[in-house]
Symmetry: D2
Subunit: 358 residues, 4 copies
């Protein structure tokens, strides 16, 4: 299953940027979950292009339709199919993409792998595919809400502008209050300035999305290959433009000593807790009840409004020129995608864990 | 399948640190591969404890046996089962582990998840499980050798000692020439000194393993969830003590501009190549024929020779004391594990890619 | 994956009888296959209700739409999504189903399993779901045509009327020439009479569909659990109303002696062939190049135009009365479904077999 | 996963008839099940060759060893690996198999599929592989016992000798009282005579194994492709020499009318029950709480003590002569295998069903 993610709570996505539509099948969603369509719509809007001056001005309608699996507002235990139709399929001029390989895009590798490709708007490699994930992630969030799990992602770095505060000092209710989705107002301003300036330079920058999951029950994750953080890493690295993933102490943990890094256990009421949380809420690959937190690194967007050296499908030297409207920095719109993939992983492992004991 | 990794070329591992044995089933290995048992043995020796003064002095015999799937020196297309028996199962005193949760180990989470656990030597959560992966990875390497793929991992950081040279300037034939597995002699010396000193302090440090795969054919990786780097990330994050993964430009790519980061295409003879390789050999999730390279961050080993605050299985406060012989730094022994997991991913995707076109 | 079938060439179906639509995602279809939409439409028409006086007079429009995975008439290697919208969703009176369990239907078991169910027209348990399989099977047939594989199913029994001729004596071009899809005209007439009479009696009968696959390459099927006939059996038994499956000599083979049953090998030109074919084209679970043939038993349709004893969702005794328009015998319409599932199995194993050897 | 069966409670078998050993990994067995090794041993003895005059006189030692996943007599939730070593690996003369294709065996198809094969004793295609399934099935039975599920298989036909009594009239405690495993003493005698006579004629016969599962909870099975009977059929058809599967009314149901075949619902105390059980305990693919029953057809054993026409690996005409000691009828030894596969399916679906509802 090349386009499926998950074991119990699975999603299979389909669709290209400029075909008739794209969507997702959720298979394995338990019956009896209230499916709030307004919530799904809201999540999709957070991902949508054209939200603000720092994101692409391209308009996409992400109106979705549930085709199956929901009856009288509840999941029925059968596959939930959701489709987002591509309303804007007019035959633009794609000759600049059809016969040339855009640098650091998927054009060349798709061409070689499949021999044929839908080049319109990037086809299957378009980040538009993530709309399907956001829709499915919204359903996963609705499932998780029954168990008290809450997921908050935010932009912690844009280019060189970095939010230095630890997540514990942030007020997540502020994340949506600015267009860059950074819960710290001052840092947000700096990020917005940098992104705006980068756009004027017809260039792009990368960034980091941080994510915190609270209320995750103890016991999620499988001991060996499907350690919870390994699956989270897989999920995050599968998002377009992601180059790195770290959880808990991450790459910085490398320079710590064991005696500093280890999280001492203590008892708080009935609950076993840890005094520090360098483990990022996951020990031995299994959630320990502390906050799960991780970071996801995004490269600068590959589409730039400049001329670039390349080759064409015949192997001749060619120049690729920037065209159309694109994001100078993708991370603000990546926030709901990171949350969605996190929710999908947790929902899946919540169900998997039902069979850990007799 | 909780203990399985891969789609076509799959491994399922089993076994605990101090049970009768551990091992692996490779399912999906094509028929007709020459199985060189000496090579498998050599790979296992690279992972083995007790190799040098900077690794644990604990002796483990990793003698393996192939039970099935190989006939007259060749793979037959049926499952290859390999077992490594635990020769040293004597009933030590495990009371310090049996009833207390070691900080930053899997003791507490296993206890909660399963209700019962084999506490001897960490049971299933022991890094000894990776011996099975190394054996399977050796078979994957034998398969890949038929296609000219070569994988080299090495220690690029131990604690704060960091190898600054890019991999292109390194001579991988030197990796095995020193006990820390860093191909640069000067840096290796500094690493060894740091590790040795840390051991004397009864403490531990982390490190980074870098890995380079050369000769990977164009076209490996699946477009959406199983982007080649996402699967590599999953594989690496599933190794004990790993906290982060990045490929190509990684977390540093965040601060680059698109115009700097993009890898321009050009033609070299018949081959389409890129002038830079910030993509780390993978574009749109699919290998582009350039070198694949990535980094894996390891936390400091959790077992330290010091007293630590904890709780016991009854929920009472308890002190965990260091005992036995353990690695002050795990990264030298992690080098063959990183290579093995990389080989398993590439072998799997090589086979998967056979069905990309009619 | 509860609603997925296959390993490499996989289908995931979704949708209920009276929801917005139903459909299928084909994942793993290689790039480069010509997708003939007219052929898919034709296959769907063969399954459609209301084709003749002996099938249900209920009208369903099975107009389908390809949403993704096909570009300029060719498969692109990305998921092919096909949707069949339910045009006739008017809110009929379903109270006779909503609160009563129809005998030998899925009403009671769905109710217990999920706690909630879409009762309209049987919901997910409706045979309308097989339209999605037929659409996907048509794509599998287009793939198989590239390898010279041809699949022919036909009605070999309706109630007690049985076609006694072996398949070798039949002219498959005649299967579609009559409304019961039996390639022997005389037997077809008897079947039609019986079905027509049964309809008048407000009752139903069962039947048998036989299937022959010619031109299947040697080597398809996996040695142990996924023996080719085991997967074919799984596929056939997953069709609504199926009660039995046999291949080659089947249940009759039980009374034969080994010396009669064994298929002697001989050489015909360059090809190894067998003098008889009690093996049904499959030996040791792997195709041997001879014709694959098997039979599928269908029970009488559960919906009858008579009053039946039952209970309701509150556990009270209740009478279920026949209503609406239903097939007196399902087997003529099952012919394209059996062919579709056969094609899906063979396409999947054709791709799987690409990795049997190095 | 070519050698894996199941979704949640999975088995992966490995091993050849005359390699070092064969075995099974159970992955997904919940923690906390008491593992009774004596019971596993007993089940293996029921399958073992050399039990009586009507089975092969070949001696095989099926002594098994649990390598992992069990601690202090309980499953730990980690993979349970069980190995059965092949003690009798002496280098016999296999030239009669090595270079000739035995009729109706897997020799030719393996040769073509893999290019190489372990011909000793049939290699992977040997029925000895089923010992691994019986061991795993015993663990599944131990799991199911916690839920009150009981499985009884028996021989209902040997060649033309058929047990006419319905299963409700049988006393399953008598199944093991005779060497043919038919719970009806008179029929058993006739079967034994027939088998003994067949052996003297150096020939073989087939048979039918019937199976009844009592106490299966309502709700097992998945709606579409993994209907409970479809998975049972897959499981049974994956056993060596099986040619057919039917459940409930089976092939005979074809000639019944809907009004006869439908199982009327009624209330018995708190329980919804059916007056008849033509459904075989499964409706809409989901268990309804009534007895599950099905039949499995076995062809006559392919190895006969007579000369047979064949070809050799070079494509020359050749004569295959009978050699060694083999079963004249395999069905008595198939009884525990059928039970094991049934237990594996039910255990898997019991766990799967834990996620049907929120």
């Amino acid at each position: 299953m090349r386009n499926t993610f998950g074991n119990q709570f699975t999603i299979t996505t389909f669709g290209e940027s400029h075909g008739k539509g794209l969507g997702v099948i959720i298979d394995g969603c338990p019956a009896g979950i209230k499916i709030d369509e307004d919530f799904i719509r809201l999540e999709l809007q957070r991902r949508k292009p054209g939200q603000s001056k720092i994101t692409t001005q391209r308009k996409e309608e992400d109106e979705f339709e549930i085709l199956s699996g929901v009856f009288e507002g509840q999941s029925t235990g059968t596959p939930i199919a959701m489709v987002i139709y591509n309303t804007d399929q007019k035959s633009k001029d794609y000759s600049h993409i059809a016969e040339k390989f855009r640098p650091s895009h998927a054009d060349y590798t798709y061409h070689e792998k499949f021999g044929v490709r839908d080049y319109r708007g990037g086809g299957r490699s378009s980040a538009r595919e993530t709309a399907a994930r956001v829709a499915a992630g919204a359903v996963a969030k609705l499932l998780l809400a029954n168990y008290g799990v809450e997921i908050n992602a935010y932009v912690s770095q844009a280019g060189a502008v970095r939010l230095e505060k630890p997540y514990q000092e942030l007020d997540f209710s502020q994340t949506e209050s600015n267009i860059v989705r950074c819960p710290d107002a001052d840092t947000a301003d700096k990020m917005i300035q940098l992104i705006d300036q980068t756009r004027k330079e017809k260039d792009t920058i990368g960034g980091v999305v941080s994510c915190v999951a609270k209320g995750v029950p103890v016991g999620l994750g499988e001991p060996v290959f499907d350690r919870l953080h390994a699956v989270l890493g897989h999920a995050m690295l599968s998002i377009n433009a992601v180059k790195g993933f770290e959880f808990g102490s991450g790459f910085e943990g490398v320079t710590m000593k064991g005696s500093e890094h280890n999280d001492a256990f203590y008892k708080e009421g009935d609950r076993v807790r840890t005094r520090t949380n360098h483990s990022g809420g996951i020990q031995g690959g299994i959630s320990n009840g502390e906050d799960i937190y991780f970071k996801v690194a995004f490269k600068p967007v590959a589409t730039i409004m400049q001329d670039q050296e390349s080759v064409d499908t015949k192997g001749e030297a060619a120049t690729v020129s920037g065209k159309g409207r694109h994001d100078p920095c993708v991370v603000p719109r990546a926030v709901p995608i990171v949350e969605a993939m996190c929710a999908l992983v947790l929902a899946d492992h919540l169900l998997l864990n039902r069979s850990s004991k007799i």
